[in-house]
């Protein structure tokens, strides 16, 4: 959305934002105050789709001067150090962790914080010499990230192979119970050792991380990748220029027939969104001089050829429910075979559109954008009517096995990321294998990504990121909080009641 000048003073005077948060918001306002029609050459029709909330640009702004998500290949640092930052290649774990922390503060993103901190276990493993001492260092390192990257869209990876470093990271995660960095274990039934899987499940239950990604599935679609931000799978040494999303619920409600949605609205809005994405990318690559001026590009941490962009959706549930209603079917998405059929029709229409559009500067993904199931944010009233991604609205969920089967069928559409999350009860701690069974079962059914946590823990997963319930309560009481995601969590809970997700017992 275009910014209003009044937002500037409002931000400056805010009582519940800290200095850094104000700083970021002011910068964002600046990006949104420039005229998209002038800078990016958006058309009136394009502007209209933003104003009527059918397309959401997630407040990315119009003076785009860096890619949305950057996924550096930090292995470059282990090998060559960093000339720009005058860092020699690390010779021990201290130099490695210290160097990484320095690097992180120079990795831009849409949030200004790094959304990817690396394949941590692989980076650290060669430097492990004394597990007891190294554990303390790793724990301090992770805690440092939590306090200096107060934004839960920051993500590290471990796996698929078990390593000493991986086990120490999991141990530290359980001890710290911090929201940041978020963590994913790249999981491969044939490679990930069972014992390591159980340890990961234990951490997931006690500290709401790591999540589990289907490594084979993503390698097939994206190649060498990192899981970043919420759960986005993006090429290593690259990233995503931009992410815009279609609010399918809002779009469907403007249609009075299934035909109208599938044959007219979706093709038109996809085309409009493609055009906006194309323009944004062209601006970043051709005019912002980001790649020319970044040491990350110069020194090989990233390569502009590894960038792609994400064509995202939210509100599949509402779109389907609207069509079911028009067709006089007294059923709801999540518990309706007809509903699933409509959902497939919507998603395959979009899939086809994406495959037919030639995307600029996206060689890495065959000149196409990647479909993405975005988990949402609370940026406008319209978000209340658009359940995250392809998910079933809280309250309409079927029992767990049926829920898994229902959602598994849609994961295929989203190569750059999709995920479901399930809250479990305490008893699973006594039978970690039961959770591993569920995860492996889900992957065998086509799942790409699955997250679990304990329903009653303080740390809870909102959509893709983590917040502390206690911080959200502080934010509700208008107190200043460290992490801006606590505010987003509050908004999302208000919209979607996510704190009351069905517990799986």
């Amino acid at each position: 959305m275009k910014a209003k000048q009044s937002e500037i003073l409002e931000t400056i005077k805010s009582k519940n934002l800290n200095y850094q948060q104000k700083h970021h918001i002011l910068a964002n306002i600046a990006e949104r105050i420039v005229d998209p029609m002038e800078v990016l050459h958006y058309t009136t029709e394009e502007m209209q789709t933003i104003e009527n909330s059918m397309i959401c640009d997630l407040n990315e702004g119009y003076g785009v001067y860096r890619p949305r998500y950057i996924v550096p290949d930090y292995a470059v640092f282990s090998e060559k150090g960093c000339k720009y930052l005058e860092l020699e290649p690390p010779t021990d774990i201290d130099e490695l962790l210290d160097g990484l922390l320095i690097l992180y503060s120079h990795v831009p993103s849409i949030t200004s914080f790094p959304v990817f901190v690396g394949q941590l276990d692989q980076l650290i493993e060669p430097f492990i010499t004394n597990e007891d001492e190294d554990y303390i260092k790793i724990k301090r390192f992770l805690n440092h990230i939590d306090k200096t990257v107060p934004d839960s869209f920051c993500h590290g990876n471990i796996g698929p192979k078990a390593t000493r470093a991986g086990a120490l990271i999991l141990k530290a995660v359980m001890a710290l119970k911090n929201p940041t960095p978020n963590l994913t274990i790249k999981y491969n039934q044939d490679i990930t050792e069972r014992e390591f899987a159980r340890l990961a499940v234990k951490a997931a239950l006690l500290a709401a991380k790591p999540s589990f990604s289907n490594d084979l599935g993503y390698i097939k679609d994206v190649g060498e990748h990192g899981i970043v931000s919420c759960y986005n799978a993006l090429p290593i040494g690259g990233g995503a220029y931009t992410l815009l999303r279609l609010r399918l619920g809002t779009i469907a409600k403007s249609c009075d027939s299934r035909e109208g949605l599938i044959k007219e609205a979706l093709p038109y809005l996809s085309k409009t969104m493609f055009s906006m994405m194309d323009k944004r990318i062209q601006f970043i690559v051709e005019e912002s001089n980001f790649f020319e001026s970044s040491f990350l590009e110069k020194e090989g941490f990233i390569n502009s050829e590894n960038f792609t962009a994400m064509f995202a959706i939210v509100g599949l549930a509402e779109a389907v429910n609207h069509i079911l209603e028009i067709e006089n079917k007294d059923e709801k998405f999540g518990q309706s075979d007809d509903g699933d059929k409509i959902a497939h029709e919507i998603l395959s229409t979009l899939e086809q559109a994406v495959n037919n559009h030639k995307a600029p500067y996206c060689e890495r993904t065959n000149n196409h954008y990647l479909l993405h199931a975005q988990v949402g944010a609370s940026l406008s009233q319209a978000d209340k009517e658009n359940t995250p991604a392809h998910r079933i609205p809280v309250g309409d969920e079927p029992i767990l096995p049926l829920h898994l089967t229902q959602s598994a069928q849609f994961h295929q559409y989203f190569p750059s990321g999709v995920g479901d999350l399930f809250a479990f009860d305490q008893t699973y701690l006594n039978n970690l294998d039961a959770v591993v069974d569920i995860i492996e079962g889900a992957f065998n059914q086509g799942y790409r990504y699955i997250t679990t946590y304990l329903q009653d823990s303080d740390l809870i997963r909102v959509t893709g990121y983590l917040v502390k319930r206690s911080e959200v309560e502080k934010a509700r009481a208008n107190e200043v909080v460290l992490r801006n995601t606590a505010m987003l969590g509050m908004g999302t809970d208000d919209n979607a009641n996510v704190f009351n997700r069905r517990t799986r017992t």
Binding site: L400, P401, T427, Y428, N430, I438, Q445
Partner: protein, 253 residues
């Protein structure tokens, strides 16, 4: 080939026999290792004072509220959960009352690549289990106690240790459980007796479950109240089992 009338009736019976089921829990993490679908049958040959599913005790009659499933019907439910589970556990009531049905069901479930467990109170006639035992992967075996069993189970019965011993030798036991209730049974001797038998079997879990009154009927509560072992007593029992050499002991409160 023509079947005689008798044979024909028998083959039809086989197809049509049903299992009285009180409840199906799609995902269970307490009925054996991993994630399992638990099927609770209606009907039990005992009537334990602390029974947590007292509604499953009565054998099917007009007042009970079970659903009768043919093998085909039950299989179609199991298939839905199949991708996420390691197998099924038939529990009760008392599963072994339905050994003919279960033998057939398990034959079919195995074809799906799933394992089949039985949760039993141990009071069954080995002869009647001849066909079922080989096709059952593991048993979860309840040992009620060593003495005074009429007091706990309110039925006259024979000791089930022989059955346990038999299954242990076949390597068919995954866990043994004892609900710990003071005075009704001699807890120490029971734990000792079980532990002596389990110590040779490293993989078998021994669960000591403290009796509790959550979820019991009023009448049951009265019978149980005052006989709940203290945490200290539970720890003592756990240590006792360990000292005899049981590798996997778990107290459940």
């Amino acid at each position: 080939m023509y079947l005689t009338e008798g044979q024909e009736r028998k083959s039809m019976e086989i197809q049509e026999i049903t299992l009285p089921v009180n409840e199906i829990i799609p995902f269970s993490n307490v009925d054996g290792r991993g994630n399992r679908t638990s099927i609770f049958v209606q009907g039990c040959n005992l009537n334990c004072v602390y029974c947590h599913n007292p509604e499953t005790i009565k054998l099917p009659c007009e007042e009970t509220q079970e659903t009768n499933y043919t093998i085909k019907e039950l299989l179609s439910i199991i298939k839905k959960y199949g991708p996420y589970i390691r197998g099924i556990t038939v529990s009760g009531g008392e599963a072994t009352l339905y050994s003919t049905y279960l033998t057939q069901l398990f034959g079919e479930v195995k074809k799906l690549g799933l394992t089949c467990y039985i949760d039993t109170n141990g009071l069954f006639n080995l002869e009647k289990m001849e066909a079922l035992i080989p096709i059952t992967d593991k048993f979860l075996f309840d040992i009620k106690g060593i003495n005074n069993l009429e007091k706990v189970t309110r039925k006259k019965q024979v000791n089930s240790f022989d059955n346990l011993e038999y299954l242990l030798k076949l390597n068919k036991v995954e866990e043994v459980r004892t609900v710990c209730i003071n005075e009704y049974i001699d807890l120490e001797s029971t734990v000792k007796e079980v532990s002596m038998r389990l110590r040779k079997y490293d993989d078998v879990i021994y669960k000591l479950i403290r009796v509790h009154h959550r979820g019991l009927t009023l009448n049951q509560k009265e019978l149980v109240q005052g006989f709940v072992p203290s945490t200290k007593e539970m720890v003592h029992l756990e240590n006792l089992a360990k000292s005899i050499g049981v590798k996997n002991v778990m107290s459940i409160f």
